[in-house]
């Protein structure tokens, strides 16, 4: 008996290893023309793991105070061996993760994977998307450069517009009335402790629900399989699907390495709290559609301030979007067509506004 067998037996006697093995081997992935969309969730998870690992490495040198933050990132980029690589991968991977998470969301939406009984899977996924955006927003401030400080001023002013509780949220986020070193300390805490804690719990819940219900089959494919049961195909998750996913992860790593080497993430200039906002200032691409909307809204719409209207509309839109599965009747009809229509409208709005923002300047 070899060492591996001995270890397996040891584990088996204690944890029922063969049960875990049997469980893993039973999981399957449906095979059909949309199967490649199943890769996006795993890809997002992979990028999250990259974020955790590179984030821990950055923590070895980063200093979270207004006097030292910029210099410490500069030190990472110029002095620490491969520091430029670690930080650039962290920044690029963050951006790719926002993209894959959003793509995952739209694919789930249009393939109607959120239908009963998977409403809570969608809900936990939406919370994870908001967490990802929170990671992006809080991490953006940490290098303490000019762009990040103004992005934080605007980004924290937006929830500050909410009637009644807005001011409270603003002070809570900024650690005071204004964006100062206190804001940096708070955002650091959110970024490396609060958000990772919540995100880990949420990912656990999300995966548990995915595991519980299995992969969703799109309604169209489901219909076809009902009429022609012989066409139903599936693939074992382990090792067949996982190995394919691994290939995709390797490609993602290559893309990250290439981006980090060819376009290392810029550091910008150190933040000056008493300087004017530089011309051409704008947020990261994933906030551009909101940025462009806020820029286009007039000062007053009727009797209500334009910015307040914009903030309330976006808040309402995100809420409705998050709760959409609960309105879906789960069978074809006018309501379901309307929901699909809303999806296309949302996608088109985000795409058009984002492109317009880059063209309009």
């Amino acid at each position: 008996m070899g060492i591996a067998d001995g270890l397996r037996q040891w584990l088996d006697e204690r944890f029922g290893w063969h049960e875990i093995r049997a469980f893993i081997e039973h999981k399957t992935v449906p095979l059909h023309r949309y199967s490649y969309w199943y890769f996006l969730g795993g890809m997002t998870l992979f990028l999250f793991v990259i974020q955790v690992l590179t984030g821990i490495l950055l923590l070895l040198y980063y200093r979270p105070s207004a006097n030292e933050a910029y210099e410490s990132v500069q030190y990472i980029m110029t002095q620490v061996r491969f520091g430029w690589l670690i930080r650039s991968i962290h920044s690029w991977s963050a951006n790719l993760m926002v993209f894959t998470a959003a793509a995952h969301m739209f694919s789930v939406f249009f393939l109607k994977s959120y239908r009963k009984p998977r409403e809570l899977t969608w809900l936990s996924g939406m919370l994870l998307l908001f967490l990802v955006l929170g990671f992006g927003f809080s991490g953006y401030l940490l290098p303490w450069n000019t762009l990040s400080v103004f992005a934080t001023k605007v980004g924290t002013d937006i929830p500050g517009q909410i009637p009644v509780i807005g001011k409270w949220i603003l002070v809570f986020l900024r650690g005071g009335e204004d964006v100062t070193g206190a804001t940096l300390t708070r955002f650091f805490g959110f970024h490396v402790a609060v958000l990772p804690g919540i995100a880990t719990l949420m990912i656990g819940l999300h995966l548990l629900l995915v595991q519980r219900f299995g992969m969703s089959v799109p309604p169209g494919v489901e219909e076809e399989w009902k009429t022609k049961p012989l066409e139903q195909r599936e693939m074992r998750f382990f090792p067949n699907f996982l190995l394919r996913e691994l290939m995709a992860w390797y490609v993602a790593l290559a893309v990250l390495g290439g981006l980090a080497a060819l376009k290392p993430w810029e550091l910008g200039t150190k933040a000056d709290l008493f300087a004017s906002a530089p011309p051409g200032i704008r947020p990261e691409w994933y906030f551009m559609f909101m940025f462009q909307t806020l820029r286009m809204l007039p000062a007053k719409v009727g009797f209500i301030d334009g910015e307040l209207l914009g903030v309330l509309c976006f808040g309402a839109a995100f809420l409705v979007w998050t709760l959409l599965p609960f309105f879906d009747p789960g069978r074809p009809g006018r309501l379901q067509r309307l929901i699909t229509g809303i999806g296309f409208f949302a996608l088109a709005y985000v795409a058009v506004m984002t492109m317009y923002a880059y063209v309009a300047k």
Binding site: V154, D157, G160, F274, S276, A277, P298, E307
Partner: protein
């Protein structure tokens, strides 16, 4: 194993009392834990400069048709010298979403780079998204020093 009591159904009143008693006790203790936390996460108010005169610049620092950001207490403010030699001072915090504005010599107006808001040199919002004018301040000269103060704080 079964711990169910045999007289549960016999005394629903006592059971209800215990539920309410325990429930309110737990709730009260949760509130007493949460209250300090909620107070803790809102930072204490810092003393703000209000009445003092702030030295914004010296005569000759600014060329006509230019502006300069100066510290007004803990916040940025803008001093503008127009082409006809008049000084204007105002808060530099855009009333739209809180960016810091600047004086644009080419437009002869005050402009915010973030969302393109435009103000006149007296602080009035002219175009773009800003909903309110910038708070304007009084300017007065003492020898060659330019002082700024909030209106009404003579």
């Amino acid at each position: 194993m079964n711990y169910q009591s045999t007289n549960v159904e016999a005394s629903p009143k006592r059971r209800r009392f215990l539920e309410v008693f325990l429930g309110t006790g737990v709730m009260a203790s949760l509130v007493s834990f949460l209250y300090p936390v909620l107070r803790y996460i809102i930072p204490p108010k810092t003393v703000e400069l209000t009445a003092d005169n702030v030295l914004a610049a010296h005569v000759g620092d600014l060329k006509p048709n230019t502006g300069k950001i100066f510290r007004f207490g803990s916040r940025p403010a803008l001093l503008v010298l127009t082409s006809d030699g008049k000084y204007h001072a105002m808060s530099a915090i855009c009333t739209h979403l809180g960016c810091t504005v600047e004086y644009r010599s080419d437009l002869r107006d005050v402009w915010c780079a973030c969302h393109g808001g435009l103000y006149a040199v007296d602080g009035r919002n002219i175009s773009g998204p800003p909903p309110r004018p910038l708070e304007s301040y009084d300017v007065f000269l003492k020898a060659d020093e330019i002082y700024v103060r909030r209106p009404g704080n003579a």
